[in-house]
């Protein structure tokens, strides 16, 4: 019996101790007519590890591709071998939420170190132990801003159209049930940026917060100082959505404008987590100290034991569902422990200079790629704003068709902007440190052929 160790003798001994004749007798409290009584026919017969591994290996192989320039919120980076070898050690992999702190100091200290890393990257005072992903993290930040902005009575939050549309839709799906309204802020179609000028129509109205995405979905860098100061001058909190790699070289949200952002969230995947079809990733979430009691999710604190020795424990649990039930800050119960552990190891391995180098290569490769692609007739940058590691390009032909033809050549050549932005001929391309000059040339050559 796979993963069940009992011998017939064990079963007999256990039934005898219970005083039952059979295992079936243990289900005598379930009304008989409810019992399944069928063979779960849609399930196959069980197989051994070898057969199932072979099947899954064939399927994994089926999805292989030569080259990818897809970004849109998930990015390919080099992941040091040590990261997952350590993160999948049984002691991390098969532990649970550190309810028994004394027997969980490993996990607890990792989280404390993680919180410190995130606070330092974002320039914020405190961090939680992570949430599910960047998009759901934004939803939590929006709900948090309603609680934290005491001056505002509004249930409305300003959200730029240049925010990742997948963040927008997940956030909407989560917060709309509580009658929270996400109000759209248009972007400048020349620059591909959210301009302070476009915010003036909202002046004088009550909004709990302004969301600022740096970089935004088009890869464009926003004038975060001006946007932050505008929001604060108008009584709003600032929710920053950022890419953690970029923070090695870009101004951290804690230093935006004269006061800094109030809450920071983002997708942690670039920090050592594989693309893996979209998860498990982790959302990071940090804030100013004065808002910490409004922050959802697990939080670890450093304290001392009864002998005065340093130790770590879950803290501020009075915010959480298992204590506060219907009055909790969120229903979230877990963090993304394993992914967050990987990110802690990754960030420690890279260090400040290593991460800056990764960020620098991402930017430089993306610039280079844009130059190479824009050398093709009819291909040009869609926007004028400077970018981090993603850039929108307009093509002389229908974007979806071009991308499908590139895919036939095994090149995933970017994301179409047709559906989300009605930019029929526009694509979004990303490059990171994993691409060589040769990779960029291959892409340019393939695109040239497809467009010819």
């Amino acid at each position: 019996m796979p993963y069940i160790p009992h011998t017939p003798d064990d079963v007999q001994a256990m039934l005898q101790a219970i005083g039952a004749d059979s295992i079936e007798a243990l289900f005598d409290e379930i009304p008989a007519h409810l019992k399944a009584g069928h063979g779960l026919d849609a399930l196959p017969e069980g197989r051994g590890e070898m057969e199932v591994t072979r099947l899954m290996a064939e399927r994994a192989e089926q999805d292989r591709f030569a080259l990818s320039f897809l970004g849109g919120g998930a990015y390919a980076h080099h992941i040091p071998a040590a990261v997952w070898e350590i993160a999948t050690r049984g002691e991390f992999y098969t532990a649970y939420t550190p309810y028994q702190a004394e027997a969980s100091q490993g996990t607890l200290q990792v989280i404390y170190e993680y919180q410190t890393l995130i606070a330092r990257l974002t320039g914020m005072d405190v961090s939680n132990a992570s949430v599910y992903d960047g998009a759901s993290g934004l939803a939590e930040a929006v709900l948090m801003s309603l609680r934290a902005n005491r001056k505002s009575k509004s249930r409305k939050v300003l959200v730029p159209d240049a925010l990742n549309p997948r963040y927008r839709s997940a956030c909407e799906a989560i917060v709309s049930n509580q009658d929270v309204e996400l109000v759209s802020v248009p972007f400048c179609t020349d620059a591909g940026q959210t301009l302070v000028d476009s915010l003036s129509p909202f002046e004088g109205d009550d909004y709990a917060a302004l969301v600022i995405s740096q970089p935004n979905y088009f890869g464009s860098l926003e004038d975060v100082d001006a946007l932050t100061d505008w929001a604060h001058a108008n009584g709003m909190l600032v929710i920053a959505v950022t890419n953690p790699t970029s923070l090695a070289i870009l101004t951290p949200p804690g230093e935006w404008g004269s006061e800094g952002a109030d809450v920071v969230v983002g997708e942690g995947q670039p920090l050592g987590v594989p693309l893996s079809s979209g998860g498990p990733y982790f959302g990071f979430m940090a804030c100013k100290k004065k808002h910490v009691r409004q922050m959802p999710g697990r939080i670890i604190g450093r304290t001392v034991d009864m002998e005065g020795k340093q130790g770590f424990t879950l803290t501020l649990q009075a915010r959480e569902q298992h204590i506060r039930r219907s009055k909790a800050t969120s229903n979230i119960c877990t963090n993304q422990g394993l992914a967050m552990t990987a990110a802690t190891i990754y960030t420690s391995l890279l260090g400040p200079d290593g991460l800056a180098s990764v960020a620098g290569h991402c930017h430089a490769n993306t610039q280079k790629l844009a130059d190479k692609l824009c050398a093709i007739d009819g291909v040009e940058r869609a926007f004028s704003a400077p970018v981090f590691h993603e850039v929108a390009l307009t093509l002389p032909q229908d974007a979806d068709t071009v991308l499908a033809r590139l895919a036939e050549k095994d090149i995933l050549g970017g994301l179409s902007l047709a559906k989300d932005y009605s930019m029929k001929n526009a694509i979004l391309v990303n490059s990171t440190e994993v691409h060589t000059e040769g990779d960029l040339d291959l892409f340019a050559q393939a695109l040239k052929e497809v467009l010819a």
């Binding site: 994994a60 594989p274 693309l275 998860g279 130790g311 803290t315 180098s357």
Partner: protein, 490 residues
């Protein structure tokens, strides 16, 4: 066990780094397109350490954890069963790890095939009509479930339904979820035998009832025998029935939530389908629904074109009534692949055995613990896959609490069960051994409990001051909450 107490930041030395891991620095020239005003002025204070220091530090930290791979871990309602290593290897095959979430369907057929089959397996074992794998954890599955209930009532113009009913023994996530979905919560009392107070439930049902959230077997560790009457009462009032799948392991292959009358259910794959808990996550919380909620399932889902044999995504463009996306992409994909592996290895006979042997283990452990003097909270009842003990007597007679006994168990190299949950049983343990533990492992736990009960009588300090063998003694949690130290500073 390691004595590592220094933080990774304290290993930091300016100029040291894991040189093999980062590309060579780029020149300032190559960054000139980024305006100076947007550039970071000071380096972030990340640790500067070599590769060996990092590997050693985190390896040493890992040894300070209890884990299923090391100890019996009978945390009630958490289903800490063995996490097959084969599932991890399969999910970490390069083709799966490198697949971008937005890769076109042409380059996703292998992955989609796994998801499509997993959806079907879950439909079959739960008796539901449709399954979405999108929710990223149990709590998010709950959210999806209640959001679908809301969408269903709204689509019918039935907007007087403002209340969700929840038995008082329920997990805290249930009421917190109902509130996140914009509902008021009304708690329903539970009787002395662990079953819901049916009369009180009937009285609570009315035109304001949107639905009832319940776990069965309940968090009292017993099967709710009146489930059909409960189902009828809620349905007659126009409400829907939500099944919290936290305890699905108990009945897998025995009785299906769909057959009990539930309209919507979430499953915790990190419990029932043996995916790892990872020190607090990631989990996966797929949802299953009856016919009337099919149109509201969260997207994306995997679909199959029977004619061509090609798999595709079902998204909001083809299912506009869906409650939408709950994450940027499609949930915790890697967890789903691990659950798929597990389901394939178990197959249909294996699924049926899960409920049987987890129930056998729990009933064995309960009877043996009763025999050494432990008090069951519901002595007249069968255990499901878990059961509750109460140490109210020890607390009164010896001033030894459930917390003390839990801490002392750590000294005996046993992870403590869930404590002080459900809230309605004083000084309680919620114990879940799972089907993957040997009889010997359970016997060791029983021996440890016998010794602790003896110590509680003869030498209570060894219990009330425990643990003595862990990296730290009991922690000052008041100080942790009052003098917040959440981030390290030099």
């Amino acid at each position: 066990m390691s004595n590592e107490t220094t933080l990774i930041f304290q290993h930091s030395r300016p100029g040291r780094s894991a040189t093999a891991q980062a590309p060579k620095p780029v020149s300032e020239d190559q960054l000139s397109a980024i305006p100076a005003s947007l550039r970071r002025k000071n380096k972030p204070g990340l640790p500067e350490v070599g590769e060996l220091e990092v590997v050693r530090h985190y390896t040493n930290l890992s040894t300070k954890n209890f884990a299923i791979d090391k100890q019996f871990y009978p945390l009630g309602s958490c289903t800490m069963k063995y996490n097959p290593r084969g599932a991890n290897r399969a999910a970490m095959l390069p083709g799966f790890l490198n697949r971008h979430p937005l890769a076109p369907a042409s380059h996703s057929q292998g992955y989609l095939a796994c998801l499509y089959e997993l959806q079907n397996f879950l439909k079959e074992v739960t008796g539901m009509k449709g399954v979405s794998l999108a929710p990223m954890a149990g709590a998010q599955g709950e959210f999806a479930g209640v959001a679908m209930i809301r969408a269903y009532h709204e689509a019918r113009g039935d907007d007087a339904r403002t209340e969700i009913l929840i038995p008082e023994a329920a997990h805290g996530t249930n009421p917190a979820t109902a509130v996140m979905c914009g509902y008021k919560v009304r708690e329903v009392p539970v009787g002395k035998d662990g079953d819901v107070d049916l009369e009180a439930l009937k009285e609570a049902c009315g035109p304001q009832t949107a639905g009832l959230m319940m776990t069965n077997p309940s968090t009292c560790g017993v099967f709710e025998r009146q489930i059909e009457a409960i189902s009828k009462a809620v349905h007659d009032a126009g409400g829907l029935l939500y099944y919290d799948g936290a305890n699905l392991n108990a009945i897998l292959g025995k009785v299906r939530p769909g057959d009990m009358g539930f309209d919507v259910i979430h499953m915790n794959l990190h419990k029932t389908f043996a995916t790892p808990h990872g020190g607090g996550g990631p989990g996966a919380g797929p949802v299953g629904v009856s016919q009337r909620l099919l149109d509201y399932l969260p997207t994306p889902m995997a679909g199959l074109d029977e004619e061509s044999g090609d798999y595709h995504w079902i998204d909001t463009d083809t299912l506009p009534t869906s409650i939408g996306h709950l994450s940027a992409f499609m949930g915790n994909a890697g967890v789903l692949l691990r659950a798929y592996f597990y389901a394939m290895v178990l197959g249909r006979e294996g699924m049926i055995r899960v409920g049987e042997y987890s129930t056998l283990a729990a009933n064995y452990l309960l009877k043996r613990l009763e025999a050494i003097g432990c008090q069951a909270a519901y002595p007249e009842r069968r255990a499901s896959h878990e059961f509750i003990l109460t140490f109210a007597k020890q607390a009164k007679d010896n001033h030894v609490t459930a917390l003390d006994i839990a801490k002392r168990l750590l000294d005996y190299n046993q992870h403590a069960p869930t404590i002080y949950f459900p809230l309605l049983v004083p000084e309680c343990f919620l114990i879940e051994p799972t089907e993957t533990e040997t009889k010997e492992a359970m016997d060791d736990f029983i021996d440890a409990m016998a010794k602790i009960l003896e110590e509680a009588n003869t030498n209570p300090e060894t219990v009330t001051e425990a643990p003595f063998t862990q990296p730290v003694r009991r922690l000052d949690e008041v100080k942790a909450a009052k003098e917040l130290d959440l981030v390290w500073s030099e």
